[in-house]
């Protein structure tokens, strides 16, 4: 699985970060990136409204207490709780895949990758990468005192760390 690009959207669906990790990707105009981000945000919200009840993740509905499960805290990299139970999760096409992770606070991390079929372990791979990105984000963006919340991310350390993680060696 090759990583093409990373997009980060704030709560309101505004694009706050966009980076390509693969040479040869066609550049869009700044405005087109914003439109693209807004569109994904919108489609995600619509998807969350039309997901049939039968497909919804019912672990929460079953009244499972956070305190009685081992699902969190127990792994070297914790399984991120995704607040994206009913919204758009991923898109598969012949040319690329898109994976989407949304934090409890409403920030969306979107990964565009090479197509890799319907193998479920690719989804896990993508989830793992998104999880690592979230940790890098919490470190190098949120803890940078001069970063203004909700605003575009211009943090060199974040660029560096994500590139180290995502760029093919």
């Amino acid at each position: 699985m090759t990583i093409y690009s990373l997009y980060i959207l704030n709560k309101a669906g505004g694009l706050i970060y966009q980076q390509d990790y693969n040479p040869g990707l066609l550049k869009l105009s700044a405005n087109d990136y914003l439109v693209l981000a807004g569109t994904i945000h919108g489609v995600h919200a619509i998807a969350s409204k039309i997901t049939p009840f039968s497909l919804r993740d019912d672990s929460a509905a079953a009244g499972q207490s956070l305190l009685n499960t081992n699902s969190f805290l127990n792994h070297p990299l914790p399984v991120n709780y995704t607040s994206n139970k009913t919204g758009l999760n991923f898109i598969q096409t012949d040319f690329f895949n898109i994976y989407l992770f949304q934090s409890l606070t409403g920030i969306k991390f979107i990964l565009v990758t090479s197509p890799n079929g319907v193998l479920s372990n690719n989804l896990t791979n993508a989830e793992l990468i998104l999880r690592k990105i979230y940790i890098i984000f919490s470190d190098y963006v949120m803890k940078n005192p001069f970063y203004n919340l909700e605003m575009p991310i211009r943090c060199e350390l974040f660029d560096l760390k994500t590139t180290q993680l995502l760029k093919p060696v």
Binding site: K11, H44, A45, A47, S48, K49, R56, A60, A61, G63, Q64, S65, L66, L67, N68, T69, N70, S71, F72, L73, N74, H75, L77, P78, V79, N80, Y81, S83, N84, K85, T86, G87, L88, Q102, S103, L104, T105, G106, I107, R131, Y134, I135, F137, S138, D139, M142, K143, L149
Partner: protein, 190 residues
């Protein structure tokens, strides 16, 4: 309270959290508070307010770190929120586990009681007669809690009830749930 959660929080504290020297930490916080007192001419009510604002700014950032590092999900009840704040939140950031107590019947208010407070380790309040009545030395904690909870869509009122620094028997912070910010819950959750 599940033992697994406690062990896991302990593991995070031990292996996955960067530590700093406690003297550096308490002295840094101490100098912030004392400088605020000087800047605001010992208007302690204003100092409390400023500390809370600083705390909120920390909280809204720190919550992402908390979520990313623990992988915690949304709590099913405010009761659970209380347990997680104490056993996981305070544990991994300050290595203390305040007691969660004084629940009201409607489950919307509780207190955190601190046996120890790393912020106030070496502190004695100034004896101008005013500080012991007005200053909540560790008020930054209230702000942190308020800011962090707000980011996960809980509007909570957080305030000190008592503080051993003022000569009270115990240090207690009260948290009262005002409401869930339902409109702000991101799409995709039920």
């Amino acid at each position: 309270m599940s033992k697994a959660v406690r062990t896991a929080a302990d593991e995070i504290w031990k292996n996955r959290v960067e530590k700093i020297n406690v003297e550096l930490f308490t002295l840094t916080y101490g100098s912030v508070v004392s400088q605020l007192c000087r800047d605001l001419n010992n208007n302690y009510c204003e100092v409390n307010k400023q500390l809370e604002i600083m705390g909120e700014n920390i909280g809204v950032r720190l919550i992402e770190d908390f979520l990313a590092r623990t992988g915690a999900g949304r709590c099913n009840s405010f009761k659970e929120t209380g347990e997680i704040i104490s056993k996981v939140g305070f544990k991994i950031f300050l290595n203390i586990v305040p007691q969660v107590t004084n629940w009201t019947d409607n489950g919307k208010q509780f207190s955190l009681v601190f046996d120890e407070n790393p912020l106030a380790e070496f502190v004695e309040l100034p004896d101008d007669g005013k500080a012991v009545k007005e200053l909540w030395y560790s008020n930054v904690l209230c702000g942190v809690l308020k800011g962090a909870l707000q980011m996960v869509q809980l509007d909570v009122d957080v305030s000190f009830v008592s503080d051993v620094l003022r000569g009270h028997d115990q240090t207690e912070i009260k948290l009262r749930l005002i409401r869930y910010l339902k409109d702000e819950i991101p799409a995709g959750e039920d």
